[in-house]
């Protein structure tokens, strides 16, 4: 079942986003997550449902449409899964009065957690308790009416989490970066940028930024960091290995964190991580929790790398070469879990080996296949 055709403005919003994802008009994991969340909020607020199953079906249908439109933007699916998880939690709180403390048991991630407790879902609203009645034949809308404010709150929670993700990730920055260290990073990652800048408030350290061809995001990164008063070096990609012996820590951003503890990250990350591995330099990945991805293109790792056009590497005007050279220009690298030492998320720090646990806590298993 897809959402009913009467929902044309909603439908249009969903299609609109699907097209934008297909056409790559929205890129980047955070931007896509935000857009998805906004569309989901619109869908939930406009749709009519009289039971939990119906609501879940509607959201899943929307999620499936969006994920199919662009399977390479993993955070779209992640956001949908997260919303479903929160909705279920809210629903259980509302009906049973107490949330099923699914995440309160023993957990390695809890064990590793550095101080900040997970944000607990707010206790249910008093007025909605008890009055909730599914499939009421007299008033089919009553279920939706009573649940909707709670759902909106749940989505708002997710939204808040997205909006504060940089701050939360960078909270622990001073614990990871020490004075007089030399940090190596690459690409333009907002999370890493915030992390480094927040560490610079109490530490005095040096950053080396790789240019990160062919997107050259590193140049922008170096500019921002230098503007924030951090002593910054912009170095060509080729000198990565030579510099690695002087580097104390490699800090990377991620596009998606996979359940096996590996990640997709901008091209060059694999190179940097391998070089770091060779020098036994710790590799730390900064990323928001919305990048945790339970499902990805496992058997076609190559195809998931998102190859963009060759013009960044070989100019179109090099006419005579175009016919003779096959250019492969992947946008992302797959970095294996054994090359990564730690993930710093807005939900504490985790080793790659416990990511699966984190994913289990964040999403419901039944949503893995949307």
């Amino acid at each position: 079942m897809t959402s009913e055709p009467a929902n044309t403005p909603t439908q249009r919003a969903v299609e609109n986003l699907a097209w934008k994802l297909r056409r790559r008009q929205i890129v980047g994991s955070r931007a896509t997550a935000l857009e998805t969340l906004l569309v989901l909020r619109q869908v939930i607020s406009k749709s009519r449902f009289s039971s939990m199953e119906q609501l879940v079906t509607i959201i899943r249908a929307v999620g499936r449409r969006l994920v199919e439109a662009q399977p390479k933007e993993h955070s779209v699916g992640n956001t949908v899964r997260k919303v479903l998880h929160h909705i279920r939690e809210e629903y259980h709180t509302a009906t049973k009065g107490t949330a099923i403390e699914s995440s309160s048991g023993f957990s390695i991630s809890k064990f590793v957690l550095l101080g900040q407790p997970r944000k607990q879902s707010a206790p249910a609203k008093a007025e909605s308790k008890g009055t909730l009645k599914e499939n009421d034949p007299d008033d089919p809308d009553s279920f939706a009416r009573s649940l909707k404010p709670v759902l909106m709150e749940a989505i708002q929670d997710v939204l808040d989490e997205l909006e504060t993700v940089y701050d939360n990730v960078s909270k622990s920055a001073p614990n990871h970066i020490h004075s007089d260290e030399i940090i190596l990073t690459l690409g333009m990652s907002k999370t890493v940028e915030h992390f480094l800048i927040s560490a610079a408030h109490n530490r005095n350290y040096t950053v080396m930024v790789l240019e990160t061809a062919p997107s050259y995001g590193g140049r922008d990164m170096a500019k921002t960091l230098a503007a924030a008063g951090i002593s910054t070096f912009l170095v060509p990609d080729s000198s990565l290995f030579g510099l690695m012996s002087r580097v104390n820590k490699v800090i990377l951003g991620a596009h998606a964190i996979l359940a096996n503890g590996g990640m997709f990250a901008i091209t060059g990350s694999l190179l940097a991580a391998t070089a770091a591995h060779e020098h036994c330099t710790p590799v730390v990945v900064c990323a928001g929790q919305f990048k945790l991805t339970p499902l990805w293109n496992l058997y076609h790792e190559y195809g998931a790398l998102d190859f963009s056009d060759p013009s960044q590497v070989l100019g179109f005007e090099e006419g005579s070469l175009v016919d003779k050279v096959d250019v492969v220009n992947p946008f992302y690298d797959y970095v294996q879990p054994n090359l990564i030492d730690a993930f710093i998320t807005n939900d504490g720090d985790h080793p790659p080996t416990s990511i699966y646990r984190l994913i289990k806590e964040t999403y419901d298993d039944e949503d893995n296949e949307l």
Partner: protein, 794 residues
Amino acid sequence: MAPKAASGKEKLIDEEDEVLQAVILADSFDKRFRPLTRRTPRCLLPICNAPLLDWTFESLALAGVQEIFVICRSHAEQVKNAISESKWSRPGSGIKIVPIMTAKETFSAGDAMRDVYTRGLVTSDFVLVMGDLVSNIRIDEVVRVHKERRKTNKDAIMTMVVKESGAAHRTRPQGDSSVFVLDAVTSECLHYEPVSAYPRTAMTRIPREVLESHPEIEIRNDLIDCSIDVCSVEVPSLFQDNFDYEDIRRDFLHGVLTSDLLMKNIHCYVAKDGYAARVKDTKSYESVSKDILSRWTFPLVPDDNHPGGHVYQHTRGNKYLASDNSVSLARTCKIGNNTLIGASTKIHENAQIAGSVIGQNCVIGAGSIIDGSYIFDGTVIGAQCVVKRSIIGAGVTIKEKTRIEKGCLVGDGVVVGPLAVLDPFERLSMRRDKTAPVEEEEEEDEDSDIEEIEANQDKTSSILGKDSNAMVWPHGPFDDDDEDDIAAYKNQRIRRLGDNGSDLELSDEDSESSDEESDESSEYDSGNELPTSANTSPLATPTFDALAPPGQLQDAEFVIEVAQSLERAFAEGHSVDNAAVELKTLRMVSNVPLTRVREAVISAIVEDIKIVDGALPQRKEINRVIGRWGELIDRIGGVDAVETVSLLQMHCASSERFPLFGQILAELYQADIVEEDDIRAWHKSPAAKGVGLAGGPTAENVQRCWAVGAKMIQQFDEQESESESEGEGESEGEGESEGEGESESEGKGESEGKGESESEGESEGEGESEDESESEDESESEGESESEGESESE
């Protein structure tokens, strides 16, 4: 909170009342893809398993176009159905697509544009593209630039998108490139010239006006013309006004650039990044396919945003397989790089496929070799076949052990083989079923062709096999409407798939070189900004020689026309404005250079001066005519006083009004049509002395005219010194240039301490008026003396 955000979103959609419109000309107006296009319009031919039109829609959607008009002519019903069945007509696609069926009489892009105008389709600036475009250029950026420019310059009516490519690029059509002359700063297109491969265009002519008004220009032959034009609403109306415009480039662009009536500008947008190309012919079909497979069109690539809505899995080496697991690949088959295989296709043992696109539901038999070929949906290829660089239509059956050489086009539904052997560049289509009911009227014009083809079947050397239902299309020039030219045919050949034109004897036309590529690169592409003189100096080209005779004919007619129209104007006393407009129109009609117009006008004016006895009446007569009509010389478009003088000289030299030359010149000077500097400049030029003229009375007269000019200049010099150092003695300051004279007179004024001289200098107006009166006297006496002298000599 939520409803508020939602309403905000809707409002955002409403806010964009300025809808970006696009017009797609979905008809190619040529027949390069036949026989593939016999049953399907070209825009519905699949490229990488999606109809071309869908790629075009997707390209436009990427640019944020919201309303698209598709102008279709041939197989219009098919196009319409395809649009209504496509994903675009589903709600939520965000794009409104309106198919417009034009009349059968629409034979060119120009006709289609006139149709756009009469239907009033467009309301604001719109994007004009062809129905065979594949692009990922941000057209919205081009539109923004265009609108920005329109704010300051209302005459900038069109912006053409061109893409830089190297000298030899597979996507740059060899036979169909063009030379763009651009202003280096504003990238205004100043001149355009198409380059044809056969006969080779070896030179280009750049009009002098271009060099005069633009200090820095770029002459470029490395641009791919993407045929993406951002047009203002005026453009369709211009087509309406000029009913003879057919091609957008050759006629419209050329017309606008050469017209000095319209005063419109066309700009180019040189796209630095992004990709855009048209599928104009089978050769570009191949190159665009390759570009898509090697991801130049990203994000418009099979595994990402396939316009046909198929989902493909991208694997190492740019191999794309339909990702619904319906493709069955035999264990021993070999799939090479840059290959796309559609859903439900079966590849049998030991088959080898490289650089090819295989449609959906195809079968490739065991041991077959498919190399660089494009196979449409539902085609079955038997065992042990070889297909090289060919396009195989939909539903074709190729039976076992058939060999298809490069460049073949096999139409839909053909059956060939077994054991068939096709020569290179063979074109096959299905033999018509004699019992079938009469086909749609659309086919009528083709029927005669086909009958002819059927009649000539025995000539071919290809073996079609015993089960074949195919007929072979003839090689060589077809007797199509205007393509019955050998040159046109050879030109076409270069654009065929797999044909590099190497066997064409290009050298007989152009002895300098025979190699296409090296020649082109050395001539145009070695430096984009060649010194302009190098490009303009050699004038004679084969192309232009060919055009010369009709041009001369027109010239003669034109002179007569001008004389008549001016005669009428003189007789009926038209205003100068009206006469000027009339002349401009005449010029437009007969397409002659400005110089010819000026020449004709001057001669007409001179001839209008009646020869009267006596110096004073003659002077009055000249005064009357020049005073009344002299202005016209400068009103015909462009002021070039030096040329005016030399034309006057030439005319007078061969006219019975030769004696009046001095007087007329003086009169022109009085009327401010000719300035002193102009006369000096004319006087210095070698042509004024009659250099290069053969002997005879004319040359003599020319020399005498020059002598008159010399006297005049002498007088100027005298006057100058006179007026500047009045009362100082007339003999001083002779032959001195202006600046020097001035400084000297100043110096004198100071040294002698005369208060008078200063006041003299201040009241310049007075001084000038004195000058004039004096010069008048002088020139008068001059003229008289001349005429006297003349009569003596005669």
